[in-house]
């Protein structure tokens, strides 16, 4: 676990908004949005058919 600790606490190690923290937060949000849109909204028929029940179950627009 130590490598995570060192990665999570760069030299400054402060609570203040560091550029690396903002970059990490934005990168995570972008990754999440790409997965969310790809799974829940992508148009190609085979993706729609593979994710059909998931889209319906979570109330996302389907068909």
């Amino acid at each position: 676990m130590t490598e995570f600790r060192s990665a999570a606490l760069p030299a400054s190690g402060s609570i203040a908004r560091s550029p690396s923290r903002v970059a990490a937060g934005l990168a995570a949000i972008i990754l999440g949005l790409v997965l969310y849109i790809g799974t829940g909204f992508a148009a190609p028929s085979f993706i729609h058919n593979a994710t059909h029940d998931t889209r319906h179950a979570f109330g996302l627009p389907c068909h």
């Binding site: 999570a8 990490a24 969310y36 085979f46 058919n49 029940d53 979570f58 109330g59 068909h63």
Partner: protein, 239 residues
């Protein structure tokens, strides 16, 4: 920091996706399969143009809902369930990554408790508020063109998320008022209207599905937030 976020998002997302697949299996899935029985029966029935008074008005709308012929789809049973599991796992990772990313941008403590709170807020923004305009639909529900609904849904998610963030996180009263306004605007604009309110399935089946779907979504967001916050807290070594 990004490494802890990604590892936590995958860990929490896989847990939430697997759990939600089990929950769906006994809640939404039986209703979806029942809805499809009615949908297929309606498709198979010969168009009663001569005997049905409203045939001319409703026929084109129903025709739009036929599944595309010839496109690949998983076989019913194990294969279909397996793809649903994969899609649920991806949704779990997606939701966990967005929540952890937002909590990281916001700063402050990230643990199971704050994760759960962000998860509940995410459910409001990305599921509950958009559902007010576009209810969860059983297969066979008549609805407007898919592109316009997806656009309205995503726009409403964005406006609701920004609105909730302003209401809950901003200090000045006018930011909170602006946030409230943002959350309301998509509903004033209005979601794309379905061509008909008639459905092939019994009304109670649709009602049961709406509730089941909202419960499943609430669980997805809250379990993802809770476990992502807990895992990130463990991995980043802050007790």
């Amino acid at each position: 920091m990004l490494k802890s976020i990604i590892v936590s998002a995958f860990g929490a997302g896989l847990l939430a996706g697997a759990l939600l697949t089990a929950v769906q299996f006994v809640t939404t899935e039986p209703l979806i399969l029942a809805g499809e029985v009615y949908e297929k029966a309606a498709d198979a029935a010969p168009a009663p143009a001569a005997t049905h008074e409203h045939a001319d008005a409703s026929a084109p709308a129903e025709a739009e809902h036929h599944h595309e012929e010839g496109a690949w789809e998983p076989a019913d049973g194990f294969e279909r369930s397996a793809y649903t599991l994969i899609a649920n796992l991806l949704m779990g990772v997606a939701v966990s990554a967005v929540l952890l990313g937002a909590m990281t941008l916001r700063g402050g403590r990230i643990d199971a408790k704050t994760g759960l709170l962000w998860g509940v807020a995410g459910f409001f923004a990305a599921s509950l508020l958009p559902s007010l305009g576009l209810s969860p639909e059983l297969p066979g529900t008549a609805a407007a063109e898919i592109g316009s609904r997806q656009m309205w849904w995503l726009g409403t998610v964005g406006a609701s998320a920004a609105g909730l963030a302003l209401v809950l996180l901003a200090k000045p009263w006018w930011s909170k008022a602006l946030g409230l306004l943002l959350a309301i605007v998509p509903h004033v604009i209005g979601a794309p209207e379905p061509p008909t309110l008639e459905a092939a399935y019994p009304a109670v089946l649709g009602a049961e599905f709406v509730v089941a779907s909202l419960v499943v979504s609430a669980l997805l967001w809250s379990v993802s937030g809770l476990s992502a916050g807990w895992l990130f807290n463990r991995l980043s070594g802050r007790a």
